[in-house]
């Protein structure tokens, strides 16, 4: 379904992605992990064509996104839903209109149908009755849940999650994990999660891709990664610093 082939991306002198390749099959759930600054968010933006690689190819259902114009990419993006790190809700619209937005874009015009589907996803994310509120009136966790509702309302084939639990307390993070798993199981969508949260990665990732210095360091089934004897991977999973890297002076 998604094929990333030898992509490279630099910003000025800094190489962020260095010959990254992997594939994601339809219905698969993949977690991409790695330390801050290893290019995870840059990578996910390539999957949607929000960024274009300097070299390599990104194919979604056989369509190469590289070289497509912004207008050509709009058609491809209808297959996707995305939950942004900061939720990225439109602050000029209330919750209902935020969630209804992708429905309007995918051609649903009947008000009753829009209201029904908005209420359905608000129920799924356990926020019934907040449709009239503005994003600024919601807590961070509620904003993430509304972002999730907006990402799934038009029933996309692929959902991308960019650090869905970052900045949330453990209880809210757990509820977001549960919601993502429910969406994955209920709608059988292809899911790609970028996360630092190992509990989230373990729950969502059937397969784990570990990025390091802009390259795929390890791409393996979740069990294999979590039982890895590789010291770097092990330290990352356990959240332990390499004392040689830490300067206490």
């Amino acid at each position: 379904m998604i094929e990333v082939s030898q992509i490279r991306k630099s910003f000025g002198e800094q190489i962020v992605l260095n010959s990254i390749s992997f594939t994601v099959k339809a219905g698969e759930s993949v977690a991409i992990i790695g330390r801050s600054g290893t290019g995870k968010s840059v990578l996910i933006k390539h999957l949607l064509g929000l960024l274009s690689p300097d070299a390599g190819a990104v194919r979604v259902e056989g369509q190469d996104l590289v070289g497509m114009t912004e207008r050509e990419l709009l058609g491809v993006r209808q297959k996707f839903g995305m939950l942004f790190q900061g939720a990225a809700l439109f602050d000029s619209m209330n919750v209902h209109d935020n969630i209804a937005f992708p429905l309007h874009r995918s051609g649903v015009t009947e008000p009753d149908e829009i209201n029904r589907r908005v209420d359905e996803v608000l129920g799924l994310v356990e926020l019934p009755g907040v449709g009239g509120k503005m994003p600024a009136e919601l807590s961070g966790g509620m904003q993430k849940r509304v972002g999730l509702a907006r990402a799934i309302v038009h029933r996309p084939q692929i959902i991308l999650y960019d650090e869905p639990t970052t900045g949330l307390d453990p209880v809210v993070a757990d509820s977001i994990d549960q919601l993502m798993m429910r969406v994955r199981d209920q709608y059988s969508v292809t899911s790609i999660v970028i996360t630092h949260d190992m509990r989230c990665a373990r729950r969502m990732g059937q397969r784990i891709i570990y990025l390091q210095e802009g390259q795929v360091y390890l791409d393996a089934p979740a069990e294999e990664v979590f039982n890895s004897e590789d010291p770097q991977v092990g330290r990352f999973i356990r959240g332990e610093a390499d004392l040689k890297e830490v300067d206490f002076s």
Binding site: K45, L48, L50, E70, R71, L73, L74, G75, R77, Q78, F80, G81, M82, F84, Q85, G86, A88, L89, F90, D91, F101, P102, R105, S106
Partner: protein, 256 residues
């Protein structure tokens, strides 16, 4: 020297990108359905809510210009020509330029700040992921609303400026109203009005394109939004003042 070169090359590149944005706006205008809700919202914000600032500017400019012209003309006994000069200057030059500068300061800054904030909080990326082109959804309604509002605001500035000048001339400066008005009608041409309207349309296009471009290309969080807003206002004002000179020469040749 190299810093100046960098500035010039960045300015030229920016103007090129604004031109590309203009092409995208025209393409969208004729191929994509207009976002009416956003357009009406912008018309309200740009057209209706800018009236006070434009009215104040028009009235004060009309009166000051009238007083200064009178004091000079009075020396050569040409008191009744004062309103003619005010009329021509307000319609073809002062009206569109001052309305443009006021709209750039009020509306251009708001547009850049809004789009810039949307950019740095990933709302623009969210729009794009939802298969929506930011130009269709955000830029076209703003450009269209500014281009329509600017001539209306300019006409308002003329009317208030000339009326304020007339009141001042007859009540405080002692100029005979009947002669003044007759001279104003006699020396003002339809071409002055056309020129003012065309300039207002063009300035509206410049302000909205520059402001939207700066907002959509904003970076580096709150500091970036502040810088982009500042640049949008400064570049819009410079573009208005520079293009006004060339428009005057061009339209004089074309209309008169």
């Amino acid at each position: 020297m190299s810093a100046a070169k960098g500035e010039i090359s960045s300015f030229v590149e920016g103007m090129g990108r604004v031109a590309l944005l203009a092409c995208e706006v025209f393409r969208s205008l004729f191929t994509v359905r207009l976002n009416w809700a956003e357009f009406m919202k912008q018309m309200h914000f740009i057209g209706l809510k800018s009236q006070f600032v434009v009215l104040t500017t028009g009235a004060s400019t009309g009166m000051v210009f009238c007083a200064q012209t009178f004091y000079q003309f009075h020396k050569v006994k040409m008191d009744t020509a004062t309103l003619s000069v005010v009329g021509v200057a307000m319609t073809s030059e002062l009206g569109p330029v001052l309305a443009g500068l006021m709209v750039a300061g009020r509306v251009g800054a708001a547009m850049t700040a809004e789009l810039g904030t949307m950019k740095v909080t990933e709302q623009i990326d969210a729009l794009r992921t939802m298969a929506t082109h930011p130009v269709d959804h955000l830029v076209v309604p703003r450009v269209l609303a500014t281009v329509i509002s600017m001539p209306l605001l300019t006409v308002l500035a003329w009317a208030v400026g000339i009326f304020a000048a007339m009141i001042l001339a007859s009540s405080l400066l002692g100029i005979e109203s009947a002669f003044s008005l007759k001279h104003m009608y006699f020396y003002s041409d339809e071409e002055d009005i056309f020129m003012g309207v065309i300039k207002a349309l063009f300035f509206g296009l410049l302000i909205s394109l520059i402001s939207c471009y700066r907002g959509l290309n904003c970076r580096n969080g709150a500091e970036g939004v502040g810088r982009a807003t500042n640049e949008a206002v400064v570049h819009s004002c410079i573009a208005i003042l520079v293009s006004n000179f060339f428009l005057t020469l061009f339209l004089r040749g074309l209309l008169y």
